[in-house]
Symmetry: C2
Subunit: 242 residues, 2 copies
């Protein structure tokens, strides 16, 4: 029966109880939690309801369930960090963009293939500058397959993030986004755009977007000013639902 005072589902309470026991150290890494039947008796609820609570804990990565054996406490997966590109770097409100260049590079198979677009000849190239106030923060270069009948809208170029631009302009549905984070020294041209010195370190973020058959849909590269952009990642989101 649902707890009428709080309107919090029973299975949720059960999950929180066990979560607390793990965080307090009462239940340690590798420990077995009570069986589903035992928990059902403890809380006077049916087994399906117990399973809902256990599913929450498993989803959060706090336990691992093995058929025929039981549910074991696991150390929270602190090795899996999440980067949320929507809330990264600089607060959204202070950022604006300056479009530097938009090009349709037609019938240049070499160029397309070099980017990874196999069997394509025409590529859209977009270059823009990201600014915070008047300070240049990053140079962004994006490349997309050219897709007939799917025009790129200016508003999208200005405000949408890269996966969204790709989704809007491609027939294929984007299903994977890989990111490579590396470091490089600024070229003279880059240094000028970023209002920094040539040869200074810069953060380089490369995004590659694929459809379900691993067909490349888009490539984006960000070259970031070393003092004005910082990537953050956290393990928290996985546990946050509980």
């Amino acid at each position: 029966m649902r707890n009428r005072e709080t309107l919090i589902p029973v299975y949720y309470r059960l999950a929180e109880d066990i979560k607390k026991q793990i965080e307090s150290g009462e239940l340690k890494d590798g420990d077995l939690i009570p069986t589903e039947v035992q928990l059902g008796e403890q809380y006077s609820i049916s087994r399906m309801t117990v399973r809902q609570g256990i599913a929450l804990l498993a989803e959060a990565g706090l336990i691992e369930t093995i058929k025929g054996k039981g549910s074991f406490v696991t150390r929270p997966r602190l090795n899996q960090l999440v980067i949320d590109l929507k809330h990264v770097g600089v607060p959204r409100e202070q950022v604006h963009y300056k479009l530097l260049d938009v090009n349709l590079i037609r019938n240049n198979t070499d160029f397309a293939n070099k980017l990874g677009f196999t069997g394509e000849a025409s590529v859209i190239a977009i270059k823009r500058l990201m600014l915070k106030g008047n300070l240049p923060v990053a140079i962004e270069e994006k490349f997309l397959r050219y897709q007939k009948g799917k025009p790129l809208l200016e508003t999208q170029l200005e405000y949408a993030d890269f996966p969204e631009v790709v989704a809007k302009h491609q027939e294929s549905v984007p299903v994977r986004n890989d990111m490579l984070i590396s470091v490089a020294a600024l070229s003279a041209a880059q240094a000028k755009l970023l209002d920094a010195g040539e040869g200074l370190p810069a953060l380089v973020i490369k995004q590659v977007i694929y459809s379900k058959d691993d067909k490349l849909l888009g490539v984006a590269t960000m070259v970031c000013h070393k003092d004005r952009y910082e990537l953050k990642a956290t393990s928290y989101p996985l546990l946050g639902r509980l």
Copy 2:
């Protein structure tokens, strides 16, 4: 009834069917999928079983369910990228470590506080070099609260990753790991250790580990050779379960 030929649960098949419809573009961003009752009739299964399938899709981020309205298709969350520290940078087998320094810095409150350890005076500092073959890849510096009765074992220092070292040495259970990725120029000392030139760009990865009350448990900094270390992140893991 379970499909006896394949042993694949019905709810899983249902989820895969809808996933395919999303990936093929048959169901688009914002579309409503059939109601739970309708799906139950289509597949001749009970509503609870339908809900299991829908839960899978929601977990994968393919749909979003709103009480009283229905389940809507959402674009896969390509903006949330996962870094798996276990499989990052360089293949595990080729890596080994050289311990440079282990120090117990006693009764130095200033030092501890500067790192963020409030109300503590003693800190353990570990410095080691990560190598791939004979090539130095990164300089790692780690700082932990000193915890009585929880000795640091040499094997842990050599082989365990940072969250694990913290978990083993602290009373408090680590529950969050934040990471900051930035860029810096190598100092003369760093350049010498990494066998690189002074002033060259380097990737700087800072990890901060907290317990559930946001108490700081550990800080780690990695300074990486620009050509020998690269961070990878991907959106895939979130969808991988389906």
